[in-house]
Symmetry: C2
Subunit: 477 residues, 2 copies
Amino acid sequence: MLEVYPFDIEIGQYKVMLNLADARTLGLNAGDRVRVKAKGAAVTAILDTTTQMVKQGQIGIFTEAMRELKEAKMVDVLPAPKPASLCYIKMMMDKQKLNEDQIKAIVRDIVDNHLSDVELSAYITASYIHNMDSQETEWLTRAMIDTGDRIHFDTHPVVDKHSIGGVPGNKVSLVIVPVVAAAGLLIPKTSSRAITGAGGTADLMEILAPVEFSADEIKAEYALSIDPYSQMLASIMAKKGAVGADAVVVDMPVGPGTKLATSEAGRSLAKDLIDLGERLGIRMECAMTFGGSPVGRTIGPALEVREALALLEGKGGPNSLKEKSMALAGILLEMGGVAGKGDGSRIAEEILVSGKAHKKMLEIIEAQGGDPKVKSEDIQIGENKEDVLSPISGYIVAFFNKRIIEVARLAGAPADKKAGVIIHKKMGQQVKKDEPLLTICSSSEWDLNAAVKDAKRMMPIVVEGMLLERYPRITEI
Amino acid sequence: MLEVYPFDIEIGQYKVMLNLADARTLGLNAGDRVRVKAKGAAVTAILDTTTQMVKQGQIGIFTEAMRELKEAKMVDVLPAPKPASLCYIKMMMDKQKLNEDQIKAIVRDIVDNHLSDVELSAYITASYIHNMDSQETEWLTRAMIDTGDRIHFDTHPVVDKHSIGGVPGNKVSLVIVPVVAAAGLLIPKTSSRAITGAGGTADLMEILAPVEFSADEIKAEYALSIDPYSQMLASIMAKKGAVGADAVVVDMPVGPGTKLATSEAGRSLAKDLIDLGERLGIRMECAMTFGGSPVGRTIGPALEVREALALLEGKGGPNSLKEKSMALAGILLEMGGVAGKGDGSRIAEEILVSGKAHKKMLEIIEAQGGDPKVKSEDIQIGENKEDVLSPISGYIVAFFNKRIIEVARLAGAPADKKAGVIIHKKMGQQVKKDEPLLTICSSSEWDLNAAVKDAKRMMPIVVEGMLLERYPRITEI
């Protein structure tokens, strides 16, 4: 029996710590699994070893495992076998194909928190290097659907929209969802926060109503900044499968600076998504859209919501936002059977112009616990503002998405909901010297200054003939 | 400024924990790096987030990072860039070749503890899947030599021996080292503990004198139970490079149940080791040895030391131990220039028989702080003993290395130095019914029983005609 020494730290997994001498006596090494048994309670945990933190005869137990052991004072420790899924992960590394049960076992162990960070990382890395084939990807998707929360609707068809992301200011969901819902289709939009962008749909919607978040993403995936292809396919489709979607439109922004650099990359992804959809019984349509410059003229949560809401209110808005939203909503109307082939975007626009989409949006806001009387002009943006002016007269010849996102993030987006960038000039437009190219805003003067400095240094918008750099730099002379 | 909340837990890396709300405000995610600054001290740490463990305005700091921050009470936190080596690890995943500086950066960041477990795991997994080419492996080895501790000798040549492992009872180093040293060659044997076997040379030598251990192996490698090929080559050769070895003999046990199942696998490894040696200026000779059954007749630290010491003392010993030790020592004598081509093993045997090797062994024991008067019969073995008898008369037709190791480990080896297995019959030998096949010993009666039970069930030694299994099992009838 070992004396319990509780470590009151949430470590994200079942973990215990033994003195190195005790571990050696038990024939155990750090990283091994152990079965920890108390009276009427037990847990399988991952072992760490120490020479200092716990004495011989003691066992350090972290919060999550302690909870399972019901605050026991004395426990027994036995070696425990590794989960079978580790074998299957090793098989992936060796480029062997997995069967349905093996893939299910991996997903089940991930969901049940039975794999250590190190093991998860090996899985993600192996997935990244050796992509799964389409059969394996189908099984992976089904396993993710089976192990996650599911929503069941009696009404059909259920339609949904997904964006591959990578283009700034892509607030189209805020327009598409009310248009499609106003047409009588069920569209249970699941959405996420921005990871590398300046605001995901969830970051935006949160301005209008409370948003709930479910389980974390796999931390390892984020920590490594990699997104294995088959994992990406499976996690897109699992979300759609979980809500019982019958038809899905996928927005695929293509162009330099987006996630899909070329049309070929776009077509290849489209083919794989449609194939996976067929295997799962979900009708898919992929829409390649221009991703070379932002959608609309605003980037950052509050600014984007204001822009989308103004469009719904009939106050007009940038063509890029309106056209793209109507095109994607139109595809869903056609897929959902409420518009004839080729008629979708026209009907979508009718719904928008009629004010029905706006009415539906206010109903959605109310249903989610927000203020149903909200107006676009009520939405507050950062009080600290500064314009970035054009240094010369000319035409806009280059526009860098990633730099625009960086400026918005430096201003504080998406955590600072009021931070962001307003774009005054887009590709090909004429600009006069000292006319504003951008307006940056933020809740914090400090962040604003950092963003302005960055915008002036990185020049996300380039005017023809503009001096890009001088050697030696003026400041260095 | 954030208030420091110290977590007195050694977590094996620089780690801090922020409340999720604070992390979001700072635009940070779990897994990001942060620069934590106190008055006159700073550390770059990996961030974790929590909703419960630390309040807003606080920062939880684990032991290792706390030490660097000199017990500060208040700190500032800023986002810190990821180390460049992560980029290079990503390149490995994408199967791009790395240059010398990139490989150096990875090794440096590993040694300096700048990579998280998740990142290390990705590196090990990517290394396992995409082997490095010979140029990259050379750079990896050089980087490992440069970043580790080095020993410099004025006398040359320096010779060394390495075993690929996988064969039980392989105590040849305890014979080879004193023979070679008695011939006047410098042989600074570095060695390690057993990970999956029943005792490494270090586990054995520890019985005779204190043994010091340096830095841990990469935990992730162990946790995943994988050994990437180029990492293995580099870590073998880095140890040799670190002691300035001029000539190295590599013992490569080949056969079923060893790490090298076939002669082809052995030859391929030999070629790669010799190539890497050439690049590093180390002369290599690889000796493929029979690995199908144990070396000598004992397995387990005390038993093995007793057997090797008895051979040195001139009390004789198993042919397999003597022949293999003389063959390998002979190669080193030839490589070191103290024996003519083809004369090595004869001269090695002369040194053994003359008692010079025994005298040298006692000197080594004394130099290391052990008892220079130790005799083989003084070495204590486990007082709990039991024979495993042959159920029938016949010839030994099968011998399973892995099962023998398992029995020794169940008896307590290598942590229990006195635990192990004595083998009475080897392949092809005749045995009578009820003659002992094995003797198992242990310091613990409990462990002995477990080992005996396992030996009877798994049958590591098979006598021709022996009944292997009955359906239905007798116990089930």
